[in-house]
Amino acid sequence: MTARRAWAFLGVLSALMPLLAGCGRTGDEVVIGSKKFTESVVLGEVLKDLVADSGTPVRHRRALGGSRILFNALANGEIDAYVEYTGTLTHEILARSEPQDEAALVARLATDGIRMAGSIGFQNNFALGIPESRAAALGVASISDLKAHPDLRLRFGSEFMDRADGWPGLRDVYGLPQRDVRGVEHELAYRALGAGDADVTEVYTTDAEIAAYDLRTLVDDQGYFPRYDAVLLYRADLEQRSPLAVAALRRSLGLIDAERMIALNAAVKIDGRAEAEVAADWLRTRFDLAVAAPTEGRAARLLRYTLEHAMLVGVSLLAAVVVAVPLGILAAYRRRLGQSLLALVGILQTIPALALLVVMIPFLGIGAGPALVALFLYSLLPIVRNTHAGLVGIPATLRESADALGLSAGARLWRIELPLALPTLLAGIKTAAVINIGAATLGALIGAGGYGQPILAGIRLDDTGLILEGAIPSALFALAAQWFFERAERAAVPRGIRG
């Protein structure tokens, strides 16, 4: 790449940097969070509309991730409020096996600076669901009845698979014998049941799908599942910062009963309406609240996803180039150190993206931070490896010719070796960019935005159109990056060594 082009490239990337800052929080804005399932997003919208109605600036960071991520975000002050479930708080977050009464829970949360204000008005308990026809054929009515059918295929959401109050405890308490048990995205489990590819999944009792897929919920005859009251959590310091917002949030207490929640869920998941719209409609009927549901057009939405995605890819890639090229040079010059270096960046590549993202949340919070670091780490290998290969592949006679001319080691590297390695080096950056564009979609799992957001929402809502809204631009973006790097190669690589 010619120097001028390289600087232009840097300029574009640094222009994207402010977007990063935009992910942080500003001044007195109240931030509502939600987990990555429909009910939580709808409740997040309800909280947001209530706060907005009080005239307080508010933002909803929707579908940020699982319980642990949301709770930590609340504890760290990245969000101010969200709706949690009491059973989850007791078992998963506070890691208590015995049920806690409400007073104990309130006292415990207060030590983290968190207020548990009370119930939204419904329970969303775990239950096991099985298609009605299948249940009737097998004669299964309670969870204990499952013991007689060891061949049933069980599909659970990944969170339920792992959490203490999920499958491991259930299996032990009931002595369930099934072997074919796998973790899938909760929403996909329903679809597997519908398609006859699975038999049993966990359901949330307010899920609209229970009716839609005609599932029988099995009786918890051993009383394994705790109560999951939906409760409002907010940061204690919000009472000082914005008493108005707290008062507004408290309007949600007792607002929605189970029947209403199922209806709201169904409006989104079965009728395909937007969460914001469903929440606003309900508040309008209930409180005569004039909520201006901000509707973002498809073009504006796509532009936002594109900018977020470009920022994730651009910044992580740029940082990777800055670090990986010198590492590649070091690896080429110090052969033994080079082997260790290549092995190390190779190992980084094998860490599953999701694990890497979640591990970094305690240090970097939610949002773009961990996603950028993960993408940066994934970009290192192709660039280090190709820089190394490009340099090592230069014939010894050329290196000697440079020496014989009287060039210093630095001049030899800059004038001879790097230009000769450039085609390989650029190919490495191109590979990293294309991998990055794909991997960046995972960033949406932790609220980093980008094309992953419509993809995840589409999976959640069983909306292929929405999935494609993320998948197609992502693919086009990858193609565009490929094209860009091929052009850059043509511009930067002299005719004499073009392949």
Partner: protein, 247 residues
């Protein structure tokens, strides 16, 4: 110009130079010749410091080739290898002027030098902006020669410069090289395996075998007073080429 004193060089088990003591006179052309593996290329690479001797010393203009002074001394030598060693990502012009540009020469200083060199080597001016892959083998060697001469060095080291060329081009270039050497009057050390070429181009021939110098002299010395039977054998093996070159 160059003085070697009791130089030894080994590659693992194999001895490349086995106690060579030799002086190269300023302004003279010397050819190093001998069978493959006799150490002639090793000797040349020692002269420009691409190799360092295991024992003994190599001096250039009375200064030892030490790491600290090596780069400065190399800029007073030109070096051409068999396949030219041209940088494929640079045009002929960029190859030739690389070092001058690196040293910060002005365009006003570079241009006349380049013009002189293209005239000297009969290199077509329109070839200067071509890349090595776009030039013929003979032209690549002309570019390599220009690059070696660009800083007007005191010594010129050539390692089988014509070895990879076909006979017609080779013949043509031998003529040109002889003219160039005569015009410039530099100290030239040339490695070749062809006795006719050595005799045609050099004032002095150094015949080597198994890392040792067998005989130093002109062709007539080698023919009329061979130092040992190997000299006769070597000349006999090359005789067919010799008749072609001498007459």
């Amino acid at each position: 110009m160059f003085v070697l004193d009791q130089v030894f060089k080994r590659y693992g088990q194999a001895t490349a130079l086995d106690g060579v003591t030799l002086a190269f006179e300023r302004g003279r052309t010397t050819a190093l010749i001998g069978p493959s593996g006799c150490g002639k290329s090793t000797l040349l690479r020692l002269l420009i410091g691409l190799l360092t001797p295991d024992a003994g010393s190599v001096r250039f203009d009375a200064q030892p080739l030490a790491a600290a002074s090596l780069r400065r001394l190399r800029q007073r030598m030109g070096y051409v290898i068999q396949q030219g060693g041209l940088f494929p990502h640079l045009t002929a012009r960029q190859n030739v002027t690389l070092m001058a540009r690196h040293l910060g020469w002005s365009q006003a200083r570079i241009a006349p030098c380049l013009a002189d060199l293209t005239a000297l080597t009969h290199f077509p001016a329109d070839g200067l902006d071509r890349y090595p892959s776009e030039l013929s083998g003979g032209q690549n060697q002309r570019v390599a020669l220009m690059r070696a001469l660009m800083l007007d060095p005191e010594a010129l080291l050539l390692d089988e410069p014509l070895g990879a060329l076909d006979p017609m081009i080779r013949y043509e270039l031998q003529e040109e090289l002889k003219q160039v050497f005569a015009t410039l009057g530099k100290t030239v050390v040339l490695v070749t395996h062809d006795l006719a070429e050595a005799a045609f181009l050099a004032h002095t021939i150094v015949l080597m075998r198994a890392g040792r110098v067998v005989q130093v002299g002109c062709l007539t010395d080698l023919m009329t007073a061979p130092a040992e039977p190997f000299v006769e054998q070597f000349i006999r093996a090359q005789r067919s080429h010799l008749t072609e070159a001498v007459f």
